[in-house]
Amino acid sequence: MYKAFLIKYAEIGLKGNNRYVFENALRDHIKEALNHLGEFEVSKEQGRIFIECPDGYDYEEAVAALKMVFGICSICPVVVIDGSEWDKLIQGVGNYVETMFPDHHFTFKVEAKRADKKYPRTSPEICSEMGAYLLDRFPEMKVDVHEPEVRITVEVRTKSYVYSIAIPGLGGMPVGTNGKAMLLLSGGIDSPVAGYMISRRGVSLSATYFHAPPYTSERAKQKVVDLAGKISKYTGKINLYVINFTDIQLYIYDKCPHEELTIIMRRYMMKIAEKLAEKEGCLGLVTGESIGQVASQTMYGLAATNAVCTMPVYRPLIAFDKQDIITIAERIDTFEISIQPFEDCCTIFVAKHPVTRPSLKTIKYSEKRLEEKIDEMVETALNTVEMIVVG
């Protein structure tokens, strides 16, 4: 029965003169999201976005698609009444209530807007007369103008629009309106969630994955591609860079103290990701790091890793418990993929006793042992990078 949707947004509304940039982005993203479901007319008007649906469209699928667009505060399914002639209008609203709320025991309030100031009734008049009609037709309904259970909104223009339900959207801001970031993506539970969270603030994403064949398998790489695919449904296309890290990993293994292996590896991963980020025009890195979750992510470890970066590193999960992260991962459908056991088929690169309080000084000193070849290896890794466009 719903022929249209009204899309309300929040923070975009607060923007000043460049509000149109955000509105246009949101309108375009909505168009893209609905593209495969039919010919939807998406227009922006007075602080909201209005979507007219084609005949025979699938309501459930349309709502599901809109619920994946960042920047939307609520989605209101709208009933369209052809015309604004009073009898037709109240009939239409009456039928709407009949269908939507078969159990008429609830409190309500009518809110009205009219675009045409020449319309014979004023907005307050529309409310009270509409309210009277409804009370008449449905004696079990009661009016409560302060805390109604149902708010029925009527908008009168050339056609008329009735809606009462607001389906929550994801919030956030339209992707791309707040710059671009480089996500360090592994096959784990955390990094896809981190990417999702940053992107929700309107940031478009590129990603970097470090694989080390034959110590990591094709399946592990495919898992990362699949994860990027999952989050790209929210974030838009992702350029996924795959770096062959084997030689660097083995070199660090050979030259550096084993307990520092993970920290030093992470530092080089960040360095390489930063170089790729610069090339892509990213303004920051994103990781799934969380204080204390693993040995390399104590505050000491984080400080040591962070020290190599000149770009800001965004760590949205820094204060999250594992369970909270899992809850989000399940919601964005990455959890099942993340827990597939195709990680490093070899744990030789995980020290049995990794250092938990590395001192930056000691780390840098150990890294001196890599001086001979490391720059060349980083260069080679960057030159042989594989890029996969996902989404």
Binding site: P214, Y215, C346, I348
Partner: protein, 395 residues
């Protein structure tokens, strides 16, 4: 060079099989149950395939039931027998080195009131026969033993076992999973006392999704798939005519030049074992106790011709697998059907391999098309890779 040494996981179909299947798919697409000539034509393929297989095994065509593969055949054999005979008894004997499609089906039967006993094997995978016989009691209705073990290539003395079982309790039903054995050994179920025989198409250069179960006409079993009553009620469901034609064709080519093919495989196995034994920290699983480092042909002939199971100390099997893959060689770590499970191999556990070595074990399985050059090339690559990969151990 591309060297496919994972034939125990699956094999490539032959050209004849492909052509035949395409013909069935494109031209003779009728439903064998249809009364018109298109159905009759389709049914012909089934009759022909059953005829070929019956001929090869020297049994009657009506004793062959077509299924979707080895797993389904094993399910049908075990559950079908158990259900049809549960009034006589509820005890089933098997080994610990069976394929998951046997083991898990027996777990299911155990959950449903049947008692399962496991006869032990020795450290070469050979059944300790006396222990098996000791397990027979008045409730025993079924014994299930795999002819050739898919992981290590251990071979059981099926004919001897059949005779002894019948001697001790003549109504015992004997099921043999011959998925890895068919084509490498001549199998005549009626002569050998085998009541139920499982085999699978995609292990013998036939298509995936095809398999068969030989059911002796002396044995009654219940179906596990119910429906329109196809295949004498034993396996309902419109028959997969292309796949059945495929497996028929595969079997018809299977024993051509058989003795020569098998002998060649044993020679290659010997060459491989001799070669691999010259590397440090290598142990070979599933060989007879009497086998020395000369790998005498008569000793190797006691095992399957195509399967070599080797443990490489100090190297993770999956890492070696991917390294070999990078060089064009395809093998298995654990068996193909268990690669997604972190649980250790039942077969390797049963023969007493240590947990460490289990994670360092690879299976090389040949076909009759494997060449000496391919074996040579594989040995060269392993020789290069072992020291490289052994440099990196977890500290």
């Amino acid at each position: 060079m591309e060297v496919y040494l994972d034939n125990s996981a699956t094999t490539k179909v032959t050209e004849n099989v492909t052509n035949l299947m395409m013909k069935v798919l494109n031209e003779d697409y009728g439903n064998p149950s249809s009364m018109h000539r298109l159905g009759v034509k389709a049914e012909q393929y089934m009759k022909e395939a059953a005829g070929i297989i019956a001929n090869t095994l020297k049994v009657e065509p009506k004793e062959i039931i077509f299924t979707s593969g080895g797993t389904e055949s094993n399910n049908l054999a075990l559950i079908g027998t158990a259900m049809a005979n549960k009034r006589r008894g509820n005890h089933i004997i098997t080994t610990r080195i069976e394929h998951p499609s046997v083991h898990q089906t027996l777990v299911y039967l155990e959950d449903n009131g049947f008692k399962i006993s496991f006869a032990p094997v020795d450290e070469t995978g050979k059944l300790i026969k006396e222990k098996l016989y000791e397990l027979i009691n008045e409730d025993t209705i079924l014994v299930s033993i795999m002819y050739v073990n898919n992981e290590i290539g251990a071979v059981q003395d099926i004919a001897e076992l059949a005779a002894e079982l019948k001697k001790r309790k003549k109504d015992i039903i004997f099921h043999v999973d011959a998925v890895q054995a068919i084509g490498k050994y001549r199998i005549y179920p009626k002569r050998e006392g085998i009541d139920l025989l499982t085999f699978s198409g995609h292990k013998i250069h036939g298509p995936k999704g095809s398999g068969a179960l030989y059911i002796s006409d002396k044995v009654k079993i219940n179906p596990v798939v119910f429906g329109g009553g196809h295949q004498r009620g034993l396996r309902s469901g419109t028959e997969n005519v292309p796949a059945i034609a495929g497996i028929g064709q595969a079997v018809s080519e299977l024993y051509t030049d058989y003795e020569r093919k098998v002998s060649l495989m044993y020679e290659l196995k010997q060459a491989f074992l001799k070669g691999v034994n010259t590397f440090d920290g290598v142990s070979i699983n599933g060989l007879p106790k009497e086998c020395t480092s000369d790998y005498e042909i008569e000793q190797i002939r006691k095992t399957a011709p195509h399967i070599m199971n080797v443990s490489f100390q100090g190297v993770k099997s999956e890492v070696l697998l991917h390294s070999l893959e990078d060089r064009g060689i395809y093998v298995s770590a654990g068996s193909a059907c268990s690669s997604h499970h972190p649980t250790p191999s039942a077969t390797l556990t049963a023969i007493g391999i240590s947990k460490d070595l289990m994670d360092s074990t690879l299976r090389f399985s040949m076909s009759d098309m494997t060449t000496p050059e391919e074996i040579e090339y594989t040995l060269v690559q392993i020789k290069e890779l072992l020291p490289l990969l052994r440099r990196y151990t977890r500290k």
